[in-house]
Every structure is written in C-alpha cells, then in structure tokens.
C-alpha cells in the first residue's frame, strides 16, 4: 500500500444476475483530494461507490485497503468506522425532523445509546455546522428547507462520522449555478480539513472546476485515473463514450422562405422573457440550456399548456393567440412531454388505446359509435411506420422498453398529422441504439415538411441531430447557431 493513498481498491468486480456491472476495476483515493468519478449511465458508477461504502459486496475476491488495513469483506459498519460516509442522490434525510436531529442521527445510532439527549444533539449539530461555516437554524424542519440547504444538512451529517472520505452521488443534479458555487466552497473547506471527497458527476465543466483527479468508467471497466491537468473536455468525452467528436451531418435541406412558426417577444414572468425565433418547415431546432433556463416553460407556452403573459406567436405568418391547448392543437402543434411515464402515456392501457386516444372523435362512425376496426387499423399502421417492437398492439405500454414507449408517445401525436412537433427530452432514459432510431424518425418527419423543436440536456445530441441550436440561459435566448458550425465541447463551454 503506497503512502499517498488512504484508500486503495483493486480487482473490484460485481455482477447482477449474469450482467457484469463492474469488471476488475481499480481505484485509489489520496488523503484529502477531490476525486471525481465520471462515466455514462450504466457505466457502473453507482455500484462502485456502494462497494466503497460497504453497502454492496464484490462478486469476486477483491483487495480493499483502507488506512493501511486490509479487508477481505467490507461491511457498512467497517466502512463507517473507517470514516467513510456516503451522501445518496436523494440525500436520505428525514423531512419531518429538525436540522439538528438530522445532523446528529448517524452519530447517535453509532453510539448505540438508547436514551436521546437534546443537549447532545444540539452540540453535535452546532459543531458540524461551525466546522464548515454554515449558518442554519437548528429547529427548522428539514422538509421546509430548499434543496441546496438540505444538501448542507446532508453534508453536515456526513462529516459527523466521515473523517476520511465523503462520497457524493451526483450532488449537483438539481442545483442552480449559485447553489453549485456554494457547494463547491463547502467541498474546498472539507478538503482543507483533510477529508477526501469522491464526487460522482457528469457535468464536465463542474468536474474541471473542482476535481484533483478523475477516474473514468465505461461499461464497467476502469479507463484509468488522470490528473485533472492532463484532461480537457474533449478527452473526457472521448474516454467516456469511446467515440470521437461528433460533427453534425445535418446540412440545410429546407427552404427558408416562409417560416412555419415565428415567436416574437414572448414573455412570462419569472419563467422566460423576450423570446424571438423562427422555425422553418423541414427544420429541426434543438433547444438547450442548463436546468432552470426556461426551455420547458417556453415550449409549454407555445403548446398552450402554460400561456405566455405577452408577445406573439405566428403560425404561417398569421398571428395566432394560443391561450389553451385546444388553440395549439387547432394550429397543428403537438407536444411530446419530457415525462412520458406520467404525462405522455396511460401506462396500464394498451398500445392501441394510447396511440388513438387523441383521435377518438375522428373515429366515430355515422351512428356516433366508435369504429373499432378503424381504430385498430390506425394503431397498427403507426406501429409499423415507427417500427415499434411488440408482438401485439394489445399489450399495455408499461411492458415496452423505454425506446418503444417513446415511439408510442410520438405515434400518438403524429396520428394527428401535426405541422409543428415539439419534443421535450425525447431520448431521456432511452439507450443509445434506440436514440439513433428516434432521431432518424424525427429527421424523416422534418423531410416531410414538419417544423420540429426539441429540447435536450445533452450537448452531443443537440449538435448531432439538429439543424440549428437555440441556447437558453436564465429565461433568455443567448445564442442561435448552426449545428454545423460548432463542436459539442464548445457548446458545453457556452453552457457552462
């Protein structure tokens, strides 16, 4: 065991029912360093950190050395006694208990004392808060605090028992820029106290800012640990995805004479302001920006779900007031929402029902009853057109894979023959192969003359699959750029 490492793990492997989540992974952590763990979804990050915390046991014999002590098997108690604490992505706090109680709870449970002492709780909590320099009222209920402050409570709880290493699982996923800066200051303070941080994340600009060293996982295999100085965004992406830079292949294949959709000075208080852009028939416009930049709110207002306070929307050059969803539908606008599970699909209903649900009025026969045959035909046609993989259209959609579910949602709206299609995060939770397929479908639709808006968090997706890119920041459009004119790494920098 080398002097500089306080934790050394070699030959870590873990399989779940035959699927190998981790294969012979090595990782070492230096005392007091900020070590970032990056990798795509499914690369094994969660499994690895759970093994370090002792919550999961490796499938084969592994070498785990912590503070010069060799372990064959690591239990959560061992891990805790060595001063390793893990902050899960959902923070695992008790919303009905006070800040003081939440902070002190780990230490109380460790001491095994059955009687609680209010004074002791207060002491533990005050000490933790002071050591990081955070000011919070001890008797506030944690459930009443904003997320950023809840995270402070989670960190304080971790440092009461975590003198060696604190593992943070994607701590910035629901934070805005200001809160992220606040968090990073705390991390720096922890570092100065000699506490190492294992930071799991995937936003590369954050990694560049905070990391000392970075470990990369891909498909359960460790691609090595690098000093942050040796890395740039380009290299990180290449390592994480195994692919080289993506360049857009979407040349302009449409006419820019008459815009199909034009938005002028669209504003809604505290959501977005002064939005101006045009969309041409046959164009795919990718909208991107950080969480909270107002993208979903903007497209929701074009769909009438979230009507704007001021500004104009023009369809085919004609000012069209859109105050409710019916107005949007009448103008041929359709919206595929981000959360297909709760907003896009009736999970327990069949594929057939889901596809035809918005068309039922058009499916009535002369007597006013539903034409079952017609419904079935329409649904079957769409399943074929969009290559939805299913043995039967009578299957409930919850049994489909993510990619196929997304296709059902798209089919539902395409069945209405829209002229403008809005997709919010169309490939979230969809694997790489299906992603390619869905974008192929979108491109086909564009070629047929639809105007398409899609929102994505992934710079690579937006660069690769759109004609033009709209970048939003804090409710405003900051840039409109041709996808052919930019690399994704540069786009990432612009977003940061």
């Amino acid at each position: 065991m080398t002097e500089e490492f306080c934790i050394e793990m070699k030959n870590i492997s873990k399989s779940y029912s035959g699927v190998e989540a981790l294969n012979d992974v090595d990782i070492s952590i230096r005392k007091g360093e900020v070590h970032c763990l990056i990798g795509e979804n499914g690369s094994g990050k969660s499994t690895l950190i759970k093994i370090i915390a002792g919550v999961v046991t490796p499938s084969r014999k592994a070498q785990i050395t912590i503070n010069n002590k060799l372990y064959n098997k690591l239990t959560p108690i061992d891990s805790m006694h060595q001063g390793i604490q893990i902050i899960y992505q959902d923070l695992s706090l008790f919303p009905n208990m006070t800040v003081a109680e939440n902070i002190a709870i780990n230490q109380l449970l460790e001491s095994k004392k059955q009687i609680t002492n209010k004074r002791r709780i207060k002491e533990i909590a005050t000490r933790a808060l002071e050591s990081i320099g955070i000011d919070l009222r001890l008797d506030t209920l944690v459930g009443d605090l904003p997320i950023a402050k809840q995270q402070c409570v989670a960190i304080c709880r971790a440092i009461t028992c975590g003198e060696l290493l604190i593992i943070m699982d994607e701590p910035t996923s629901s934070l805005g820029k200001k809160d992220i800066d606040y968090l990073f200051n705390i991390i720096k303070t922890l570092k100065s106290k000699g506490i190492a941080i294992l930071f799991v994340g995937h936003k590369l600009n954050e990694i560049s800012e905070i990391a000392d060293r970075v470990s990369i996982l891909k498909d359960g295999i460790s691609l090595g640990t690098y000093d942050i100085k040796e890395l740039n965004h380009k290299k990180m992406i290449e390592l994480m995805t195994g692919k080289t830079l993506t360049v857009s292949t979407y040349a302009r294949e449409y006419s820019t004479e008459k815009p199909i959709l034009e938005v002028r000075n669209l504003s809604k208080t505290s959501q977005f302001s002064d939005i101006n852009f045009t969309l041409y028939p046959g164009e795919i416009l990718g909208i991107t920006g950080l969480v909270g930049s107002g993208r979903t709110e903007l497209v929701s207002s074009i769909f009438g779900l979230n009507p704007a306070d001021s500004g104009e929307i023009l369809i085919d050059g004609v000012v069209t007031p859109i105050k409710k969803i019916r107005d949007a539908l009448k103008s041929g606008i359709c919206f595929v929402p981000e959360d297909r599970l709760s907003q896009g699909l009736f999970m327990n209903h069949t594929i057939e029902n889901n596809i035809t649900v918005t068309l039922l009025k058009a499916m009535l026969n002369k007597a006013g009853y539903l034409d079952i045959k017609k419904v079935r035909n329409v649904a079957s046609d769409w399943v074929k057109d969009l290559s939805i993989k299913t043995p039967s259209i009578d299957l409930p959609v919850k049994q489909l894979s993510g990619g196929n579910q997304q296709r059902v949602v798209i089919a539902k709206w395409l069945a209405r023959n829209p002229r403008i299609l809005i997709l919010d995060g169309p490939t979230i939770g969809v694997d790489v192969g299906a992603k390619e397929e869905i974008h192929r479908i979108i491109r086909e639709l564009a070629k047929q003359g639809l105007g398409i808006l899609f929102i994505s968090d992934e710079a690579s997706e937006v660069v690769k699959y759109s004609h033009r890119i709209l970048i939003m920041k804090e409710g405003r459009i900051v840039e409109v750029i041709n996808s052919a004119d930019i690399f994704e790494t540069d786009l990432l920098e612009k977003l940061g």
């Binding site: 959902d90 695992s92 919303p95 009443d144």
Partner: protein, 339 residues
C-alpha cells in the same frame, strides 16, 4: 430594512389552536346549557373518553411511523373475551390481573401484525384489514354465545374508583376517575419513549423517510414490533376499561369505535401520511371529540347529528393543519432570503 413580524412558534402549533377552539366551544355550549362547564360534567367526559383515548394513543404511534392499523378494535374485542372468560373459568383474579392479561394478549396479537408488516413488507392497511377479519372471525366462530352480561364485580368496582373524590350538594361522588388516571399513566410512558429514546426517534424516522431510516442503520425490526405490539397492548387495556365501565362483554360494540378513535387522532394533529404527531395533541383530539358529543346531548340535539358534526370538524382540522404547513414554508422563505 423591512420589519418582519414573526408569529411566535407556539401560536402556529396545531395543539395550541385546538386548545383555543376547545375553550371557545366550551364557553359557547356553556352559555346554552350551564351544566356543561361544571366539574362533574368535565370529569365525566374525562372518564368516558378514556377508552377511546387509550386506543388513540396506540393508533397515534402507528400513524407517526407512516402505517395504519385497523385491527385494533378486533384485538380489543378478542382480548376482552379471552381475559374475562379465562379468569371466570379459573374463578380467580382481580382487576390488575385482568389488565395484565388483556395487555399481554393484545400485545401478542399485535406482534402478529408486526411480523407480517416487517417480514413480508406488506402494506400495513391491507395486513391489518386481513388480521382484523381473521381475529374477529375466529373469535365468533369459536364462541357459541359471544355476549356475556354477567361479569365479576371487580370490573365495575374499578370504574367507580376516584382519585381525590368530592361530594356535591346532591350527594353525588365525583372526581378524577381511575380510568383517566390509567390513560394519563400510559400517555406519560409513551410520551417519554417518543421524546427521549432512540426507538422514539426511529418511529418518527420511519414515518419521515423509510428508505433513509434503513440506510441510517435503525433497527427496523425492533421498531416495527414495538409499534404494533404497543397498539395491541393499548387495545387490550382499553377493552378491560370497557368491561369496567359497561359491565358486560360484547362482541361488536368495540368494533364500532374504530372510526371515532381514528377521527380523534387525526383531529389531534397526527398526520395520516406519517412523520408527525404528539401525545398532547391526541389527548386534546379525544377530549374535543367527546366534548362535541357530550354537548350535543346537553343541547338536546338528536344523536343522528353527531357524525355530521364530527365529520365537519375533522375536515376543518385537516384544513387548519395544511394551512399551518404552508405558513411555515413562507416563514422559512423569509428567513432564508434575509440571510
């Protein structure tokens, strides 16, 4: 600098508002019928509400942990039958043995619930719905004659016992009933446990975030068994109090008390979704409920109106609770922006 007027924390608490409502209500009813706020009547309310109160303490603990137990009246009924009949068969025993035996039977039946809830991770409402039917059904199928109208005198003697008895002008004895004293004793014990022990923290933790409770290292098995045997125990005690007060053993009467007990607990501020609740609140909720039914009688309102009034007050109390939560959120926002 904007001056922020902060409402003192005390005034926002559900228990405080409930107490105020009770006082106002009491004064109102008293103006219609001055018998209401007399010592005799108040002690009487305290006495008759003790049975509901005892069971309410058990229900409160289950609710705080995020669960729901609807088998407690069945457990009470079974405990009552088993205890009274067994002691009568053996021709031995006294009131204390009766309470002890009923408590043990109740706790054991509660353990069955605890086992099913913990071991198989089944939803608590469904489990207790099942065990309620099983316990009660088994009882009725075993007993050929489920009613028992002749019980040993020591039951009724106990209910007549008073702490610090007074005598009023008509020669009527009144004072703090033994039943009320029992309620206070059990209330005190559970208050101490909830407030000062790790099991108590664990109960609140389960109700707040069960995943986090598991990850933090709470002994979930111990806590669940404690919760469900506690409600069983209180149900057992309540059942003997029933026999003491009403001098008979009945297979159905206690079953019908379920809704009122739950109403009282909710009225007292315990959240149905779990994570919050207090002993004081529950006691106030029980007394409020009985104040209402008692006052309806004194005001000559037909008993059919009782559920209507209770229902209205439950909705009102939940509404006030929800309003308080939103006020607290606004307060926190103000504090955070000041910082």
């Amino acid at each position: 600098m904007k001056k922020h007027y902060r409402i003192p924390k005390l005034f926002l608490r559900h228990e405080f508002i409930l107490a105020i409502i009770m006082i106002i209500f009491g004064l109102l009813v008293n103006s219609i019928n001055p018998v209401f706020l007399t010592a005799e009547n108040i002690f009487d309310i305290l006495k008759t509400s003790s049975i509901t109160g005892m069971m309410a303490l058990g229900v409160m603990v289950v609710m705080i942990s995020g669960g729901m137990d609807i088998s407690f009246t069945a457990i009470a009924t079974v405990s009552m039958q088993v205890t009274v009949r067994l002691l009568m068969m053996l021709d031995k025993g006294n009131i204390f043995v009766a309470f002890l035996l009923a408590a043990i039977v109740g706790a054991l039946l509660g353990c069955v619930n605890g086992f099913l809830v913990y071991r198989f991770k089944l939803p608590t409402l469904i489990v207790t719905l099942g065990t309620s039917n099983i316990f009660h059904g088994l009882l009725l199928s075993i007993l050929r004659v489920p009613h028992l109208y002749s019980v040993p005198t020591y039951y009724f003697e106990f209910s007549k016992m008073l702490l610090f008895p007074w005598v009023n002008q008509e020669g009527f004895h009144f004072g703090l009933s033994s039943l009320t004293v029992m309620l206070f004793a059990v209330a005190f014990v559970i208050w101490v446990i909830l407030r000062f022990t790790m099991i108590g923290r664990g109960i609140y933790a389960l109700g707040g975030n069960i995943e986090a409770a598991k990850r933090a290292g709470f002994n979930i098995m111990l806590i669940q068994f404690f919760i469900y045997s506690f409600i069983g125990l209180t149900a057992g005690l309540a059942s003997i109090e029933y026999v003491a007060l009403f001098r008979h053993v009945h297979p159905f009467n206690m079953m019908n008390m379920m809704m009122n007990v739950i109403a009282a607990v909710v009225l007292g501020g315990t959240s149905i979704s779990g994570g919050s609740g207090s002993v004081i609140g529950t006691l106030l909720g029980v007394w409020m409920l009985y104040m209402i039914t008692n006052s309806l009688i004194l005001m000559g309102i037909p008993s059919e109106w009782e559920p209507v009034v209770i229902g209205a007050i439950i909705i009102l109390s939940i509404g006030i609770n929800a309003y308080q939560k939103s006020v607290r959120k606004v307060e926190v926002k103000i504090i955070e922006t000041e910082v």
